[in-house]
């Protein structure tokens, strides 16, 4: 009993996801089919890919609030290159991803130069990127992307709904899970999130790590942007606006602490899917589409509150355990 409660607490997002899934299966016809499941994964592939980067940042103890417009500006750039130049598609994709990496590393550079936390730098950048995205597109949507490019996201394998985007997402999730849980690099990231000073004094080159993490975030956001505009076949300045809130909510639901140092990729995936399922469900139920913002806001606040509650509860339990430990130590002595 206690074990299963423990499991539910540690994997809250997964439990809620199964619960929500069961609810929709019971109330909506055709929900529980392979095709539908694959469609949901396909629709969220780009969010989950971006999440891989943002989870890395958050476990490392930072926050990134520029995700949406970062992706938008990369998407817009990519779409413009595709429609206005004759450069081969693979080169354009590479350029897009490299630009994204450069932007994210620029963020790291600015945090270092200005000496302010990443969250504030990225809040500033979000507006900056937004401006640039509108200026270079003249606030028009760029559509008619070449088929060869759209295939990157839309092409399928084995099953008509199993897209390359989904496969790519799955591969990244597996790799990131492994990297975070098993590698030296993962240990360094967790250490930095757990206690930055102790990490530095343990010999971790914190500055170098922040650039590496920055580069990886840029990579994931770049790929996510390519997948997103490949799936929709169009790009505009507000293509990915507001995505960061979905990602942040999903990651927090997935058990990553806002203070860093803990989290599991698989649970974050469940968190993202849960958020997606909720907004999807509300649409299916025919609610006013703006209600989903209210729902997301409520979820976000609940999750943050829960995070704080966990922390407080932990310190209470720790005190108790500590006292017990002192007592047993005394009895032994």
């Amino acid at each position: 009993m206690r074990k299963s409660i423990d499991f539910c607490q540690k994997n809250l997002a997964l439990v809620l996801l199964i619960f929500a899934g069961a609810l929709f299966s019971a109330t909506t016809a055709n929900f529980l089919t392979v095709t539908n499941a694959l469609n949901i994964l396909n629709q969220n592939a780009y969010t989950i890919i971006a999440m891989c980067g943002i989870a890395l940042i958050m476990i490392g103890g930072d926050l990134d609030m520029s995700v949406g417009y970062h992706m938008s500006i990369c998407g817009v750039l990519c779409a413009m290159l595709l429609t206005r130049t004759g450069i081969p598609v693979p080169v354009i994709v590479a350029v897009t991803i490299l630009t994204s990496v450069a932007l994210a590393m620029l963020t790291t550079f600015l945090t270092q130069l200005l000496g302010i936390p990443r969250i504030f730098v990225t809040i500033g950048e979000a507006t900056l990127f937004q401006g640039f995205a509108y200026v270079i597109t003249n606030s028009k949507t760029i559509s008619n992307l070449p088929i060869a490019f759209k295939n990157i996201a839309q092409g399928t394998l084995l099953h008509p709904s199993l897209t390359y985007a989904t496969l790519l997402m799955a591969a990244f999730v597996v790799i990131m899970s492994f990297v975070l849980s098993r590698t030296y690099f993962g240990r360094q990231v967790f250490s930095m999130g757990g206690n930055l000073t102790a990490a530095r004094l343990a010999g971790i080159n914190v500055m170098k790590m922040k650039y590496i993490i920055g580069a990886l975030v840029g990579f994931f956001l770049g790929v996510a942007a390519v997948i997103l505009i490949g799936r929709t076949g169009a790009a505009a300045a507000n293509t990915a606006a507001g995505v960061e809130i979905n990602i942040l909510t999903g990651i927090l639901l997935g058990g990553v602490s806002i203070r860093g140092g803990e989290g599991k990729i698989s649970n974050c995936v469940a968190g993202i899917l849960l958020v997606a399922l909720i907004s999807n469900g509300m649409q299916l139920a025919g609610w006013n589409p703006y209600f989903q913002y209210i729902a997301k806001g409520v979820i976000m606040l609940c999750v943050l509150g829960f995070d704080m509650f966990q922390m407080r509860r932990r310190s209470v339990m720790n005190n108790r355990r500590k006292e017990e430990a002192v007592l047993t130590a005394r009895q032994e002595a």
Binding site: E262, R320, V326
Partner: protein, 494 residues
């Protein structure tokens, strides 16, 4: 009639009885020490006296009046002031505003009369023998000056009982005397001071009586002139300690580390050498630049000029891992904020400096991690229910051992201990001393930064003294004397 009486107070937390039927009475105008090992119940007791925690049984009697369910405000009104270890001042307000916080000082409904407030604040600070200006902002003050402001606050509150929780822990040796003087003056004015401290010398030189708690129970109250150190320690730990400082038999080897006119991070022209098997004590006031020196030696801060030679070669450390690779490891001053990952398990913390060595192709070998952890948990006798236990749950002494283990596990053999026994109890201190001795005996070189005079004299083979970023002298074992160290530390000989 005692001014403050604690009568049969019991406090239970889930799973543990923090105070078990404790009764102590405090007389008017005495300095009454409260002693006991960590976890003996001192903090709980003062929290109950201050109304910050409710007791489960018993009562607090202040001037003959019984108080139950007292709130902090009730306690203050009854004349009890507490100066906690973490000072409770508002850093962004002035000294005067802090002194009179929550009080009406003349003025109209628009606001207080600041001129009057400053005048009175200046008076209070002058009475304390301090020339701190009332308009100074608190964050500009040193810790000891802030402590004075806290004392001033208690005086403004007209306190009859002043409780001080380890007031000397955060301030430098030279400043302690001044604090003593003020405490004695308060006593002579009829204030009762309840003085909590781990430092035995201090209690003997300052206090009139001492009450001892052990494991949440009241043991005894003695006049300090009727008891000796041994007796006091016996009451505290419930057993005789063989000696305070275990003897060390180490052979000094070749020079392990040499610092030659190192400048940077606030230090100037520092010269030091430490040999294998040697414990070099580094003395000085808080802010003398000792920790800053340690940070340069361990590669955390780059020196501006000068040279570090380790194991016979000149070294340039770009970051901490460079120093670790040569075997130079720092056991930092503040274990909670600098040394430990508090929410991570023991088997993360101990190998945390060694993960690179424990991985192949970037993948961490969990078996090796466990083996290394077990090895050091055994070697250092770290008391933990399992290696999966989160470090936050361990006692201070065991946490300190984890920080030491982390450096040892990284195969460091030139070790810099920065305040190795701060905030841990007598028994755990002994274990740390024995461990340091064992390390020296097996050929490790140790630099020990400490503000604890007994520890400095008891553990060092040689003592270097610093003052304002410079070395002011070095003493060989035969020349050790408290007075001489204090002189050098206050810069008299410069």
């Amino acid at each position: 009639m005692p001014i403050l009486e604690v009568s049969r107070v019991t406090k239970r937390y889930p799973g543990v009885t923090a105070l078990d039927d404790v009764s102590i009475s405090f007389e008017k105008g005495e300095i009454h020490a409260l002693m006991g090992e960590n976890g003996a119940g001192k903090s709980t007791l003062i929290k109950i006296i201050a109304g910050a925690e409710a007791s489960d049984g018993g009562e607090i009697i202040i001037e003959g009046e019984s108080h139950r369910g007292m709130t902090p405000l009730d306690a203050k009104r009854a004349g009890v002031s507490v100066i906690y270890q973490e000072l409770n001042l508002v850093p962004s307000l002035s000294v005067a505003e802090n002194l009179f916080i929550g009080k009406k000082v003349g003025g109209s409904f628009i606001g207080p009369d600041f001129k009057e407030m400053r005048r009175r604040a200046a008076q209070v600070m002058r009475d304390l023998g301090s020339n701190i200006k009332p308009e100074t902002l608190v964050f500009e003050l040193s810790t000891s000056q802030q402590q004075l402001v806290e004392i001033g606050k208690a005086i403004v509150d007209n306190c009859k009982v002043l409780i001080m929780d380890e007031p000397s822990a955060a301030i430098a040796v030279a400043e302690v005397e001044n604090m003593f003087r003020i405490v004695r003056e308060l006593r002579d004015k009829g204030v009762t001071v309840v003085y909590i401290s781990h430092r035995i010398d201090e209690v003997f030189s300052l206090c009139d009586r001492v009450s001892i708690l052990r494991d949440g129970r009241y043991i005894t109250t003695e006049r300090l002139r009727d008891i000796d150190r041994r007796g006091l320690i016996r009451h505290m730990v419930g057993r005789e300690l063989s000696e305070t400082f275990p003897e060390r038999r180490s052979r000094m080897g070749e020079i392990a580390l040499e610092v030659i006119s190192l400048t940077g991070n606030g230090d100037f022209d520092m010269d030091l050498t430490v040999r294998k098997g040697e414990v070099l004590g580094l003395a000085g006031l808080v802010g003398a630049g000792r920790t800053e020196l340690a940070k340069m030696i361990c590669g955390d801060v780059k020196p501006v000029s000068g040279e570090i030679r380790a194991k016979g070669k000149s070294r340039r450390f770009g970051c901490v891992s460079d120093a670790l690779n040569i075997g130079v490891g720092l056991i930092p001053e503040d274990r909670k904020s600098e040394g430990l990952f508090m929410d991570f398990a023991v088997d993360w913390n101990i190998p945390s400096m060694s993960f690179k060595r424990l991985s192949r192709f970037g993948v961490v070998n969990q078996k090796k991690v466990e083996a290394l952890t077990d090895q050091y948990v055994d070697a250092l006798r770290i008391k933990t229910p399992s290696t999966r236990q989160v470090v936050r749950n361990l006692s201070g002494g065991n946490q300190q051992k984890v920080v030491v283990a982390r450096a040892l596990a990284a195969e460091a053999d030139i070790l810099i201990f920065d305040e190795p026994t701060r905030g841990i109890d007598v028994g755990a201190k002994q274990e740390i001393y024995r461990l340091m001795n064992r390390l020296a005996e097996t050929g490790n070189a140790i630099i020990m930064i400490t503000s604890d005079m007994e520890e400095l004299l008891g553990m060092s083979d040689r003592i270097a003294v610093m003052y304002e970023g410079r070395k002011t002298g070095e003493l060989a074992r035969e020349a050790f004397s408290q007075d001489r160290i204090l002189e050098l530390a206050s810069g008299y000989s410069v």
